[in-house]
Symmetry: C2
Subunit: 369 residues, 2 copies
């Protein structure tokens, strides 16, 4: 289905970054008031390639006390998006030609209702594409609703692919905003998946208005392995969000904030033990969500007993994530966690041991005219 | 007044540090369940010196979103404690021989009710001192109740002095615990002043049970200046604490946690602009406390307008703290802040421009037998 998106874009306010960060407006939404690095162009750019293929990695949001503002990318798991210049698609429009992968039937081929489609449209808007039509093909490598940033990976891959086919005119911030537009429609206005999926590594979202992202560099010389264990269980994001407390007592706020600080310090200092301890230390969100995922508490216990430095829920679940410093130990920890899901929750699960993705979404293939 | 403190010390539980950090017990107090680096000795140590003098720096706690778990030390402001072996004091006891400085009349000379005395007694307990008596002299360089960690500096200097006279047998953790015992009695069980006063630099308090402190190293090559402006105004800690909300909405919690993470990242990355922005970003504590300090809102505005990267309340106030990267600009910012206190709050104020103290409490003089 081809959708014409081209209309006068909403005016974009370029707000200067103030010294004093402005207070958040809970429940309000970003009005794209981004201090753009690259100003949005209306140049109707020419494509550099006839087609490109992009990969965007899975992501782990929250990491315990980093709830709603911290995430990281994991290598070797993710989605692919191919974009081609298509003379059969009306200029300035985009069409989804195919969606491939397991259980993808519920994904819409209408670009306006598809994560990849929405992000692609946003990037086309930002670039001011008018003269060519595009077709998009999505290969889902990530299961839906698993807590691994599935929708964000589709959006990130699409944003990077469309940007790539026109010669990478947009910067990271714009791509994140395009991804956010997608996330807003399908899973909520949160950048803690889409930012690391685009940027790689660990990313802290400091604010949305203006968008302010802080990459947290994990030292290159350190080994960091994530053990990701996904059970056969649907944990709908809405239900997981409804489980959260509306109000938090001051001592709990102070505790979780200090653990968030410790989490950031551990990442920057490459302190794996500290990172694990911080991940495990959330007393606000995890205690509300874990009971909704059968076996999760037993899985966490099993991970720690098997030598993981820490364990928590990945995103809104149901995937559990543990950290360790070797692949071999990661495999053993994963085995114990899978067993605990079966024994403690009567759920089948599969495990992956993956490293940090330090690169983020990237073109993996391109064909010149 | 000499006080005999020697009695069988309470048993000290040496709890192994667990992988999963335990939840906080709000309002409970530390039971000294510290994984001691240096085991408490009962060796009745011999003094190495006949007398020593220690300095401990002033500290800025909270720094905005680091409320109750983050603090840093500032150079060139602080308290001095001298300790002497005194044959006129009964062995195993300590006496306060003098307290000097402005407005020190309200400070008790009974070591059990004096910040320095309590910390000194704790260190003597930890060391198992039985054979010599000590006398203590306190020189207050810091005004009381100013939000600059006055009581913590006295405690830190006393702890380091007593440890020093016996040859530095205790580690930093023990000294912090001794200081905490003092803070608990005089201003509340919080280590965000006493830890940086003893350790120097920035310190994050990750947990109390067990005590777990994370030093955050600010890059050596970066210049960081604090502008400290203290008005003639008493802001009693109790009143400032009573002003805090008991419950915090989830969006505010997420915001402040993310700013706490950004604060930690800025310190470790030496990002002064980010540090200032994070300091200025607290929407939970500062908005409740600032209105209780006449002129504080105007002072913050004046600091930012004069070019400070950020500004907030130091500790529980009334001192305002701003950050900048040069002494000259710091002086100008300080001038504007002093003026704003006068205009906006009808308060006289004095300003200091100080650098980060990276060393912490230390002996500044010692006399051998």
């Amino acid at each position: 289905m081809a959708i014409c998106f081209f209309s006068a874009p909403k005016p974009i306010t370029i707000s200067p970054s103030t010294q004093a960060a402005s207070a958040p407006k809970p429940l309000s939404r970003c009005n794209l008031s981004l201090p753009y690095k690259t100003l949005v162009t209306k140049a109707d750019p020419e494509p550099i390639y006839s087609s490109v293929k992009a990969f965007a990695p899975a992501t782990i949001a929250n990491l315990g006390p980093g709830f709603d503002f911290l995430g990281c990318a994991v290598d070797g798991l993710g989605d692919f998006v191919s974009i081609s210049v298509d003379p059969h698609v009306r200029p300035g429009e985009i069409s989804i030609s195919g969606i491939y992968g397991d259980n993808v039937k519920k994904l819409s081929k209408n670009p306006l209702y598809n994560c990849a489609g929405i992000a692609a449209i946003e990037v086309m808007k930002m670039l001011g594409v008018r003269s060519v039509g595009l077709s998009l093909s999505l290969e889902k490598g990530l299961p839906l609703g698993s807590g691994l940033g599935s929708s964000a990976a589709s959006a990130a891959a699409a944003a990077v692919a469309v940007n790539g086919i026109f010669g990478n005119k947009l910067g990271v911030d714009e791509l994140v905003l395009a991804g956010l537009k997608s996330e807003e429609k399908v899973s909520g206005y949160h950048a803690d998946n889409v930012s690391p999926s685009i940027m790689g590594g660990f990313v802290l979202i400091r604010s949305y208005e203006p968008l302010d992202l802080i990459p947290l560099k994990f030292p290159m010389e350190k080994n960091l392995f994530f053990v990701l264990v996904s059970p056969d269980f649907e944990a709908p994001t809405k239900k997981m969000r409804a489980a959260l407390p509306a109000e938090i007592g001051m001592p709990h706020h102070v505790w979780n904030s200090s653990q968030a600080g410790a989490l950031v310090a551990s990442v920057l200092q490459g302190d794996l033990v500290g990172l694990g301890k911080a991940m495990s230390s959330d007393i606000i969100v995890e205690p509300r969500r874990a009971p909704l995922i059968p076996g999760m508490e037993a899985v966490k216990k099993a991970a720690i007993e098997a030598g993981a430095f820490g364990c928590t829920i990945s995103g809104a679940g149901p995937t559990a994530v543990a950290v360790t410093d070797s692949e071999q130990r990661g495999n053993e920890i994963g085995k114990q966690m899978v067993e605990a899901f079966l024994k403690g929750g009567n759920l089948k699960a599969c495990s992956y041991v993956k490293q940090l993705d330090r690169v983020g979404a990237r073109l993996v293939n391109s064909i010149h005219y």
